[in-house]
C-alpha cells in the first residue's frame, strides 16, 4: 500500500465517523490551546515585569539605608544598633567612584501642591539634574532641575502630567509660580505621561531639588541613591566601589544595602520563567489525557471496523498495511487537534492582548513547539496499541463479526 493511499484511506475512515473524530480532535485542541494560552499568560507576565523594571533605567545600582537581612547574619551588625542614614554628602562622595557614570540622590515624601485655588496632594521627590538620565524620564515641556549645588535647593519644580492637568487645567504650567507645602516654587518642566507602572507613578510626581525636599520634610536623610554604572559589565564594580566608599564614610561599618537592577531582574526573570514552565507543564498533562482519549477512540474504531479489517486482509492487506492505516488515522486526529488547538490558543492570546493592551500575552516559541510536539507524540504513542490490535486480528473471526 502506498503512503498517499494509506493517508487517504485513513482520512476517509476519520471523516466516516465524524462524531468520534470531532471528539478526539477537540480533546487534543483543548490541550494544545491550554498550553499556548497559559504559557502566553506566564511569559506575558514575565515580560511585563521585566519591561517595567527595565524602564526604571539602565544599569541601575540602588543604594538603600540599612543592612538588609539577605547578607547573612553578622554578629557585629547585630550589636551595633541603628544604622547611619544616607545623606546628600554620601551621595556626592559616590561621584568619585570610577565605575559610576552618574547618580541621583532621592528623598521622598508627600506634600500639597496648589495653584490658583486648585490643591492636590502629591508625591514629592527631591533629587538632582541627573535624575532625568538615570531614570530615563522624558520631558513633555520645559526643562529638568538645574545642575547646581546639591545643597542649595533652588525654588523650582518639575511636575508629572496628571498633576499638571489637575492643578493647572488648561493653563500653561511652565513658568508659573506654584506652592509646594509652604514653599513657592517655579514650574520649570512637565514630564511626559508614562501611565501606570512598577514603582513610582511619575504622572503624579512633583520633583524638586533634593535640598528643598529635605527642607520641606524637615529631614536630612535620603530615601535612596540611584547610581548608573558606566556599562552593564561595570555594574559589579560600581556596586563594590559604592559599598567601599560608604563603608569608609560610615566609620568602617557596612550599614547600607546595594541592590542591582540586574540581580532583581534576573530573579524575577527566573521566577516567572519557572512559573511559565510549571503552568505549561500542567497544561501538557491535559495532552496526555487527550492522548488516552485518542487511544480509546481508536480502540472503539478497531472494534467498530473489525469486519472491515477482516475484509481488507481477505483482499490482500498485510498486517503492516492495517497497522499503518490505523496509525495514520491516530496521527491525523492528533495533528488536526494540535493545529486547531494552536489556532485557538493564538486567538485566546490575541483576545487577552486586546482586552489588556499593556500585557504582552504572547506564547513563547518553545511552548508552541513543545505543545504541538507533545500532542503529536502522544497521539502516535497512544495510537500504536490500537493499530497493533487491529493488525493482529484473525481475518476469519473478524469477517464473521457483525
Amino acid at each position: 500500500m502506498k503512503l498517499t493511499d494509506t493517508v487517504r484511506f485513513a482520512r476517509s475512515a476519520a471523516t466516516g465517523y465524524p462524531l468520534r473524530t470531532a471528539l478526539s480532535v477537540l480533546a487534543m485542541a483543548i490541550g494544545v490551546a491550554a498550553v499556548v494560552v497559559l504559557t502566553a499568560l506566564g511569559d506575558g507576565a514575565r515580560r511585563y515585569v521585566v519591561g517595567q523594571f527595565s524602564s526604571l533605567g539602565t544599569n541601575l545600582v540602588i543604594v538603600l539605608p540599612g543592612r538588609s537581612g539577605t547578607g547573612g547574619f553578622n554578629p557585629a551588625n547585630a550589636i551595633t544598633s541603628t544604622p547611619r542614614d544616607l545623606t546628600i554628602s554620601d551621595a556626592a562622595a559616590l561621584r568619585r567612584a570610577p565605575s559610576v557614570k552618574r547618580l541621583a540622590p532621592l528623598a521622598v515624601g508627600t506634600s500639597e501642591i496648589s495653584f490658583g485655588g486648585h490643591v492636590r496632594e502629591g508625591m514629592v521627590a527631591g533629587s538632582t539634574s541627573q535624575m532625568l538620565e538615570v531614570r530615563n524620564f522624558t520631558l513633555a515641556q520645559g526643562q529638568f532641575l538645574p545642575d547646581d549645588d546639591w545643597n542649595r535647593g533652588a525654588p523650582v519644580a518639575v511636575i508629572g502630567a496628571k498633576i499638571r492637568e489637575e492643578v493647572f487645567g488648561t493653563q500653561e504650567a511652565v513658568g508659573q509660580l506654584a506652592r509646594v507645602g509652604d514653599r513657592r516654587v517655579r514650574i520649570v518642566g512637565v514630564l511626559a505621561s508614562t501611565g501606570t507602572g512598577l514603582g513610582m507613578n511619575t504622572d503624579e510626581l512633583v520633583i524638586v531639588p533634593v535640598a528643598l525636599a529635605q527642607a520641606l520634610f524637615n529631614s536630612n536623610t535620603l530615601f535612596r541613591i540611584l547610581v548608573e554604572a558606566r556599562s552593564r559589565e561595570a555594574i559589579p564594580a560600581a556596586k563594590n566601589e559604592v559599598l567601599e566608599i560608604l563603608k569608609t564614610r560610615h566609620g568602617g561599618e557596612e550599614d547600607v544595602t546595594v541592590i542591582t537592577q540586574d540581580a532583581v531582574l534576573a530573579t524575577f526573570d527566573r521566577l516567572l520563567g519557572a512559573l511559565t514552565l510549571a503552568v505549561g507543564g500542567i497544561a501538557a498533562i491535559s495532552l496526555a489525557v487527550a492522548g488516552i482519549l485518542v487511544m480509546n477512540v481508536m480502540l472503539v474504531a478497531v472494534a467498530q471496523r473489525t469486519n472491515e479489517i477482516g475484509l481488507l486482509k481477505a483482499l490482500g492487506a498485510t498486517d503492516r498495511d492495517i497497522r499503518q492505516a490505523f496509525l495514520a488515522e491516530a496521527a491525523m486526529l492528533s495533528t488536526f487537534g494540535a493545529l486547531a488547538g494552536y489556532v485557538l490558543g493564538e486567538i485566546g492570546a490575541f483576545l487577552v492582548r486586546q482586552f489588556f493592551p499593556v500585557f504582552p500575552a504572547q506564547p513563547p516559541n518553545w511552548a508552541i513547539f513543545a505543545g504541538i510536539g507533545t500532542a503529536l507524540v502522544t497521539g502516535l504513542v497512544f495510537g500504536v496499541m490500537p493499530a497493533r490490535r487491529a493488525a493482529r486480528l484473525d481475518p476469519v473471526e473478524a469477517l464473521m463479526k457483525h
Partner: protein, 231 residues
C-alpha cells in the same frame, strides 16, 4: 499440475474441553479453470475449507499446494500477497466498506496492492461497464440494491485478475431471481478461465457446477468427479 492440491488436511477447533474436527483427513485436487460446488449440511466444514483455500486460515496439519507451491509454510505477509494476486473472495453478506463508493470499493484490492492510480482508474471503469454499474460508480453501498452490491463485490473480487474465485453462499442474501443473475455472472467469469469454487446450500445451484463436492463432518462425503470415474 492441479491448481489446488490438498493432502491430509486437518483443522481442529478447541471449544472448551472438546475438539471440533472441522476438517479431517482431507485430500483434494482442483484443476485450473474448474467450476466446483461445495455442498453439505450446516457445520460440515464448507466455510472452513473455503477459508483455508483462501489462505485466511491455516490447517493444523497437512499441506496445501497452490499452483505447485506449498503455501502453508509461507509467512503472513507472503500469504497476504498470494491473496492479493491469486485469490478473489465473494461473501454471502457482500462485505462492502460502507463509507466508500462502489468505484472505491472495487478499487480497494488494487490500492492495497499499490497499483498506480491511472491503472486503477482504467480497470475500475472497465469493471463498472462489464458489471453494468456505470451509473452506480459514486453510490455508497446503502444506496445500492442487494444484487448491485453483490455485483460490486464480484467486480472487486476479480479486479486483480485472480486465478480463483471463492464464493461462500454468494446468493444467500439474495432473492431467487437476483441470485440466478449473480450465479450467471460468476459462470461467465469461469467460462473466461477463472477457477470458480462456490459453497451453496441449494442443490439446484450446486447441480450447475461441473463438479460437486459434498462435505459431512469435516470429511469429503461425495465427489462427483470420483464417482464419475467409478461409474
Amino acid at each position: 499440475m492441479a491448481l489446488i492440491e490438498l493432502s491430509g488436511i486437518e483443522r481442529v477447533f478447541h471449544l472448551g474441553d472438546s475438539d471440533v474436527h472441522a476438517l479431517a483427513g482431507l485430500d483434494l485436487a482442483i484443476e485450473a479453470g474448474d467450476y466446483v460446488a461445495v455442498m453439505g449440511p450446516s457445520g460440515s466444514g464448507k466455510s472452513t475449507l473455503l477459508n483455508l483455500l483462501g489462505l485466511l486460515d491455516r490447517p493444523n496439519s497437512g499441506t496445501y499446494r497452490l499452483e505447485g507451491r506449498d503455501v502453508t509454510t509461507l509467512s503472513a505477509s507472503e500469504q497476504a500477497r498470494v491473496r492479493s494476486e491469486r485469490i478473489g473472495f465473494v461473501f454471502q453478506s457482500f462485505h462492502l466498506v460502507p463509507r466508500l463508493t462502489a468505484a472505491e470499493n472495487i478499487a480497494l484490492p488494487m490500492m492495497l496492492a499499490g497499483l498506480p492510480p491511472r491503472e486503477r482508474d482504467a480497470r475500475v471503469a472497465a469493471a463498472l461497464r462489464d458489471f453494468g454499474l456505470e451509473h452506480r460508480a459514486d453510490h455508497r453501498p446503502d444506496q445500492l440494491s442487494g444484487g448491485q452490491r453483490q455485483r460490486v463485490a464480484i467486480a472487486r473480487a476479480t479486479i486483480m485478475r485472480p486465478a480463483m474465485l471463492l464464493a461462500d453462499e454468494p446468493t444467500g442474501n439474495l432473492d431467487r431471481h437476483t441470485g440466478d443473475e449473480v450465479i450467471h455472472l460468476l459462470e461467465v467469469l469461469n467460462a473466461s478461465g477463472v477457477t470458480l469454487i462456490v459453497v451453496t446450500h441449494d442443490p439446484g445451484l450446486g447441480g450447475r457446477a461441473r463438479r460437486q463436492l459434498v462435505m459431512e463432518d469435516g470429511h469429503l462425503h461425495h465427489d462427483s468427479s470420483r464417482s464419475a470415474n467409478l461409474a
